[in-house]
Symmetry: C2
């Protein structure tokens, strides 16, 4: 996520901001809630559930993945899924 003027702040401050931004959109909150509830999230399921376009869901999943918050699309096919990397057990 491209923040401006990041050079004015510390690595830590920028890192905190980026993590917070991951939760800074209701679609991504909904994705994580769905994941917590079902342990799985499939693009097409989320499309049907949220009413956003497939490309949009894919984009949000990509952002969460790029931050290592979710793990996903292991198989590039119908079985695409994602899960928390940490199990919090």
């Amino acid at each position: 996520m491209g923040l401006t003027k990041t050079n004015l702040f510390t690595e830590e401050q920028n890192a905190i901001a980026i993590i917070a931004m991951a939760f800074g959109h209701p679609a991504r909150v909904a994705i994580l809630q769905h994941l917590i509830k079902t342990n799985v999230c499939i693009n097409s399921t989320l499309v049907a559930e949220f009413g956003l376009a497939q490309a949009t869901i894919s984009q949000h999943l990509k952002e969460l993945k790029s931050m290592d918050i979710i793990q996903g699309t292991i198989s590039g096919t119908a079985m695409s899924y994602c899960s928390f990397i940490r199990s919090f057990n």
Copy 2:
């Protein structure tokens, strides 16, 4: 903060996203860290400390205030300050 397509999500999901967005910029993270450390934040101090323009700091303070995360500018003069509303005691 104006999110698009909020109608597709629950009140709760939108609320969580908005709170997260408050922390989704390094300047606002820095403001809160400063506040935790010193218990006070004065616009001019932050301007000198961060290197952002006065108007920009003022804007970030306004956003944090609008979310009731900080309380502030009680006196509209030189003594403008802000503090956490809850004391976490």
